[in-house]
Point group: C2
Chain length 203, copies 2
């Protein structure tokens, strides 16, 4: 019974239980978070309630690319400064955010919503593949970058997309494999080392 919710009130229990369902928070940290929220009602809890309420009512996936936003289509899809000739295909919105934080990509995105997975029974119809094929057919971008993860499922998905998109005559690329910047060779797996060696460049 070490991780049971506190007995002081059902409202606190409920809050702890819900917060504990967020990734990164267990029952213990959820309790600490609740105490923190109650201690800082005006400066933290009230703004959080308002932000959540707004998000609940207004944030939805973009019908074009799958990004999350309060406007539809999303701000990235309608940004006239972005390069409309490239679509970068990512698994998840988190990947899109990671690329945006890096600030090195100025084209459009397409969020698949996961990867193909025989084990989990996830097929092409469970992902936003049809939407991608339609976009490529109708908007005829010059390039599609397949930025799925370098995992078995991610690469399976990339190969499947390659097969689906190749007939449309678009250039299809993928992210380079290699040693991560700041990475030590000692800690890298054989696959990465092999890829880095195979794609070696003149110094």
């Amino acid at each position: 019974m070490t991780d049971r919710a506190p007995v002081t009130g059902n409202e606190i229990d409920d809050l702890v239980r819900l917060l504990a369902r967020l990734p990164g928070l267990g029952p213990r940290s959820a309790r600490r978070a609740v105490l923190q929220l109650i201690k800082r009602k005006e400066s933290l809890m009230a703004p959080l309630v308002r932000a959540l309420q707004t998000a609940l009512e207004r944030i939805a996936p973009c019908p074009v690319c799958g990004n999350l936003d309060t406007v539809s289509p999303c701000k990235l899809c309608t940004d006239s400064k972005r390069d409309r000739s490239v679509i970068c295909v990512v698994e998840d919105v988190a990947d899109l955010w990671a690329l945006e934080r890096a600030g090195v990509y100025r084209g459009l995105y397409h969020v698949l919503g996961g990867t193909l997975s025989a084990l989990d029974g996830i097929g092409p119809e469970d992902l936003n593949v049809a939407g991608l094929v339609n976009r490529v057919r109708e908007d005829t971008p010059g390039e599609v970058i397949l930025a799925t993860s370098a995992t078995v499922d991610g690469q399976t998905t990339a190969h499947y997309l390659m097969d689906r998109l190749a007939p449309l005559g678009v250039t299809i690329t993928q992210l380079a494999h290699g040693v991560p910047v700041g990475g030590e060779l000692d800690y890298l797996d054989e696959g990465t080392l092999m890829a880095a060696l195979r794609s070696r460049r003149p110094f």
Copy 2:
């Protein structure tokens, strides 16, 4: 700029920034939490908004003991099954919850709201000390258990309370020091070992 909030919308930024201020969540896990919340709007986000709204409006410190509850005085203070002859003094509501989870204490509580700390400039007037002295004087419990932490500040606070409460003629006790249940001697500090040895009991 690695941990900047995503650029996709100010509403998402706001939510990430607020969640990242909770203990246990950094910017990265706050972003994951936001994605999780938006993916599970009906099953997680909506109930969380409701629970937070309720907590915001209804949870407040108990005027008697300092516990957090939606009723005033709190359910522990008004519970007729609890032993009203003992008051257990704790630093924080989290400590009260920990004792309640253990389920071994059936008396009343008093939450100080911290410890004395010369370094942080926290004196007796910053803690709920006057309330404790009044309670002991008016309710004349048979025993006060000083369950502050076994830290320098916690023990300083306990000694201070001892001085304040002794003239009122109440029995004052403190938690036993010793080897934690399940603890290995190898990992214990000298202070704990010394306390455990000094308080040794017949087998």
